[in-house]
């Protein structure tokens, strides 16, 4: 369901969750801290309700959160990256540098494929994308990126920015004590200014012609010959 002005999804009756890629990024950060000591911080840019996803991440073991609060308006990839870069710079100035910064490879909603890369460029750090495996090796990080016919390996020095994909790990379920602890972990809230978008949403629509006209091949096992006939006609038998 879209809103009346067709510029957003009507979310009044929907719940929110962290997207699969980001969930794996959070899990990986928690695992790395468990193995190497240190602190992990989770950051999001989104409306007031997004604090729930920050709490979910802290329930998995992240130490604290940064919430760049918006009024629910659309932010394009460029503006999102700029706001995140500013927040990271400010946090690093106060608390010291991050060795690794994880992003989801692409957002589930906007699908811009660019925020992590833009932040990496702004911070002047190497960025490896689309990762299915991450191994910290001393002052380097070894990264495996899924490609046609296997995985490409990159080794880059820390500090680095990594964009990850679902399948990187199997995220844990939050424990009850974890959820309890998450309630008292700190969330730093700020409200960055939204610049005029240079990729400006005009309207959203449900694409037409998506539905295929289904032809029934029958019911139950008796449909098997008709299925095989379809396979034969498709030239795959």
């Amino acid at each position: 369901m879209l809103t009346e002005d067709a510029r957003a999804i009507d979310t009044r009756h929907l719940g929110f969750t962290m997207s699969p890629h980001e969930e794996c990024g959070v899990e990986e950060a928690v695992r790395i801290i468990e193995a190497n000591k240190g602190d992990s911080v989770v950051l999001t840019l989104g409306p007031v309700e997004a604090v729930e996803q920050l709490r979910d991440a802290m329930a998995l073991g992240v130490d604290r959160a940064i919430h760049l609060e918006t009024d629910g308006q659309e932010w394009d990839g460029e503006a999102t990256a700029d706001a995140i870069t500013d927040a990271i710079r400010a946090d690093e100035a106060a608390n010291g540098p991050f060795d690794l910064i994880f992003f989801g490879n692409e957002s589930a909603d906007s699908g811009g494929f660019q925020v992590g890369i833009r932040v990496a460029y702004a911070l002047g750090r190497p960025c490896v994308t689309g990762l299915k495996k991450v191994t910290v090796e001393g002052t380097n990080v070894r990264c495996e990126q899924e490609v046609e016919g296997g995985r490409d390996v990159y080794v880059v020095p820390l500090p680095a920015v990594l964009t990850v994909k679902e399948g990187l790990n199997l995220p844990r379920y939050p424990s009850v004590p974890g959820k309890m602890r998450a309630r008292s972990k700190p969330v730093a809230v700020s409200a960055p200014m939204r610049p005029a978008p240079r990729l400006e949403l005009v309207s959203l629509a449900v694409p037409g012609g998506q539905g295929r006209r289904a032809e029934s091949l029958g019911t139950g096992a008796t449909a098997a010959p008709a299925v095989v006939e379809v396979l034969r006609k498709a030239g795959v038998l």
Binding site: D152, V156, S203, E215, A224
Partner: protein, 294 residues
């Protein structure tokens, strides 16, 4: 003025050319393998240098993993907006694009305010049209002039796939199972049918989350996007995130006990009933058909 296209082998780049031609001529091409082994910042730097030399009015690439990655790096280093996964473009300023969002379940019309539109083209969406081909740009001087920082991120090794089976991305047929398969062991009949067809085995996210199959088998928005001749969906409800991976499938056969499942509305052929009876019956029928042929 010129239109610059980042090319790589395959249909995705031919779709890209179809949209690129709307920006007019001449067209020039930079190849994705301009630097080997692959170094994404280096390719982006070459693309930036080429775009500046040509005073390119637009730069386009296929919305593949590498296409997105290099174009995002070009956008970051040029300080320009990037419109990803476009399916249509109106090149008269202000440039408007139609692009896929939510894994393709929504279409966005957007204005791209940029002196040099950067665009990736969504795979499997734009019908390929013939027309003028781009001239290959000689980039040797740009390669020679690369800054060593742009070679820091570079492929240094390759790991072969761990599974020996048929690859989802190249399979002509995929037999895919969802929650309806019921268990890890339930996939035996899916594997049997896949084996007979020389097909890859796929699955939905419900299956990987339950731990029945590895994530490498997952088809969908956060799994693998596939383009087989035939996709056989067994007990898959057809959530939009799953359908997002099926845009390139030529024919979908859906087997489900629920005739109202979204997958059944989005398939070309449907069989209503218990997959545990239907799938073995199809395998038996294939064996029978092959035996009869000899």
């Amino acid at each position: 003025m010129s239109v610059l296209v980042l090319m790589e082998p395959g249909d995705a780049s031919r779709q890209t050319l179809t949209l690129a031609r709307k920006f007019g001529e001449p067209m020039h091409a930079v190849q994705m393998n301009a630097v080997e082994p692959f170094a994404p910042d280096a390719v982006a730097a070459i693309l930036q240098g080429a775009a500046d030399e040509l005073q390119a009015s637009a730069v386009l690439a296929a919305g593949t993993e590498r296409g997105h990655e290099v174009m995002a790096r070009l956008a970051a280093r040029s300080g320009l907006p990037l419109a990803a996964n476009c399916v249509a473009v109106t090149p008269i300023p202000p440039v408007t694009v139609a692009r896929l969002r939510w894994g393709g379940s929504l279409l966005e019309d957007a204005l791209l305010h940029s002196a040099r539109p950067l665009i990736t083209v969504a795979p499997h969406t734009v019908p390929i049209e013939g027309g003028p081909e781009p001239a290959d740009m000689d980039v040797r001087h740009l390669v020679a002039g690369l800054d060593k920082r742009d070679l820091l991120v570079r492929v240094s090794d390759h790991v072969a796939p761990s599974t020996g089976g048929v690859s989802l991305t190249t399979a002509k047929v995929i037999v895919s199972g969802g929650r309806g398969v019921g268990s890890k062991e339930g996939f035996a009949i899916i594997e049997e049918l896949a084996g007979l067809l020389g097909a890859a085995v796929g699955c939905s996210r419900a299956v990987t989350s339950a731990g029945w199959r590895p994530h490498t088998d997952q088809v969908g928005q956060t799994g693998t996007k596939v383009a087989p001749e035939v996709y056989i969906a067994c007990g898959i409800s057809g959530a939009t995130q799953h359908m997002a991976g099926l845009k390139g499938a030529k024919r979908i056969i859906a087997i489900n006990s629920d005739a109202q499942a979204p997958m059944m509305q989005n398939a070309d052929y449907i069989v209503v009933g218990d997959l545990k009876e239907i799938v073995p019956a199809i395998s038996a029928e294939i064996r029978r058909a092959r035996a009869g042929r000899i």
